[in-house]
C-alpha cells in the first residue's frame, strides 16, 4: 500500500534548485503537502519572493506571482483585497526568506500583520543571505561569521538579530505566530502541523498567520547537511526558541 508519495501540488518533473541538503526543499514540500491535505490547489495564489526561494513558481502547481524583494506581504495584501472585492474564493500565502521578510520587507511584513491581513506568511530563517553567498542578514546570530561579518557578528558593531516570530506575535492583527525547525522527523512532522494550522487560520478568516522555519544553509555555513541540522538543534534553537508565540484560538 502506498503510504507516501511526492505531494500532488509539486509540479511533475520539477527539480528543486536549492543546494544539496538545504531545508528549503523540506519546507516547500511540507507546504505542498498541506495544500494537498486541505485541498487548496484550485483557489491558491502563492507569492514568491527574491532569494533562494525565487523559483517557487517552478516547483508548485498553483497560480503564483513573484514579488519584488521584500514586498511579498504587500503583493499578497493586494491579491487578497482584490479577490475579496471580486467575491472570489481564495487562499493566499507568501514564501519568503528572513532577509526578504524581516529586513528589506519588514515594513510591508509588519504592517500586513498589524492590519490583520488575512494571509499566511512562511519565512525561512537560515541566519544569512543565502542566494548571494552568505552575507550578514537580520537574523545572523551574535558571533556568526559571514562574508560581511568576517570577525563574527558583534553587537556593538553590527547590532542585534531580530526574533521575527516574537515580533509578529506582538501585533494585534496576528492570529497565529510560531517558530518551527526541520532538523529531525519529530520537528518536521510538527512543522507540518503548524503550517497546516497557519493555513487553516486564514480559511477561518482569523487574520495574519505566520510561521518562521529555522532552516539549514549547509553551503554557506560550510557544514554538511547533517552537521547543519545538529547546529540548529544544539545552537540556534537556544537563540531562536521553538514554539507558538500567538494563537488567537488558544488564549
Amino acid at each position: 500500500m502506498l503510504v507516501y508519495r511526492t505531494p500532488k501540488t509539486i509540479k511533475e518533473n520539477s527539480t528543486f534548485t536549492f543546494c544539496p541538503g538545504c531545508d528549503h526543499g523540506i519546507a516547500v514540500k511540507l507546504v505542498a503537502n498541506v495544500l494537498d491535505e486541505l485541498n487548496l490547489r484550485d483557489e491558491t495564489i502563492a507569492v514568491a519572493s527574491s532569494g533562494c526561494s525565487v523559483f517557487l513558481y517552478n516547483f508548485l502547481d498553483v497560480d503564483c506571482i513573484e514579488a519584488p524583494h521584500g514586498r511579498a506581504c504587500a503583493v499578497a495584501t493586494g491579491i487578497k483585497r482584490a479577490m475579496r472585492a471580486q467575491k472570489k474564493e481564495n487562499f493566499v500565502f507568501t514564501y519568503q526568506g528572513d532577509g526578504d521578510f524581516a529586513s528589506i520587507g519588514l515594513g510591508e511584513s509588519l504592517h500586513s500583520a498589524l492590519r490583520g491581513e488575512n494571509i499566511t506568511a512562511i519565512c525561512i530563517n537560515n541566519t544569512n543571505y543565502g542566494m548571494t553567498g552568505g552575507q550578514l542578514g537580520p537574523t545572523t546570530v551574535l558571533g556568526q561569521v559571514t562574508t560581511t561579518s568576517p570577525l563574527g557578528r558583534n553587537k556593538e558593531y553590527h547590532g542585534f538579530p531580530i526574533k521575527t516570530a516574537e515580533h509578529i506575535a506582538l501585533s494585534d492583527g496576528t492570529s497565529f505566530s510560531a517558530r518551527v525547525a526541520l532538523y529531525d522527523i519529530k520537528n518536521i512532522m510538527n512543522a507540518k502541523k503548524i503550517i497546516k494550522k497557519a493555513f487553516e487560520y486564514q480559511k477561518k478568516g482569523l487574520g495574519f498567520a505566520f510561521v518562521e522555519i529555522l532552516s539549514s544553509c549547509p553551503t554557506n555555513w560550510k557544514l554538511t547537511p547533517v552537521e547543519s541540522h545538529n547546529k540548529i538543534k544544539n545552537e540556534l534553537t537556544k537563540i531562536y526558541p521553538l514554539g507558538i508565540f500567538k494563537d488567537v484560538l488558544n488564549e
Binding site: R5, P20, G21
Partner: protein, 71 residues
C-alpha cells in the same frame, strides 16, 4: 515487505536520508548523481523497513518519491 522508491535523477547526495532512517536501510550507491557524488540506494534484506516515511519527509529534493507498506 515495505519499501521505498528512489528517483536517482533527483538525488543531490546530501545523505540526510541515511542519517534519518531508524534501521539504517539506506546507503551510498555506486551511481554518481547530478552533483558528482554517489547517490543513495535502499537495501532491506531482513525486511526491517516499517514504511515510516521519515526518509521521504526528510529528503529535500523529492528523490525519495514513494513509500509502500506491507499489508
Amino acid at each position: 515487505m515495505s519499501y521505498i522508491k528512489i528517483d536517482n535523477s533527483k538525488c543531490k547526495s546530501c545523505y540526510l536520508c541515511i542519517d534519518v532512517c531508524p534501521h539504517k536501510l539506506i546507503k551510498k550507491s555506486k551511481i554518481i548523481g547530478k552533483t558528482g557524488e554517489y547517490t543513495v540506494e535502499f537495501e532491506d534484506n531482513e525486511n526491517k523497513c516499517i514504511a515510516c516515511a521519515s526518509c521521504a519527509y526528510m529528503c529535500p529534493d523529492n528523490a525519495i518519491c514513494e513509500v509502500y507498506k506491507n499489508e
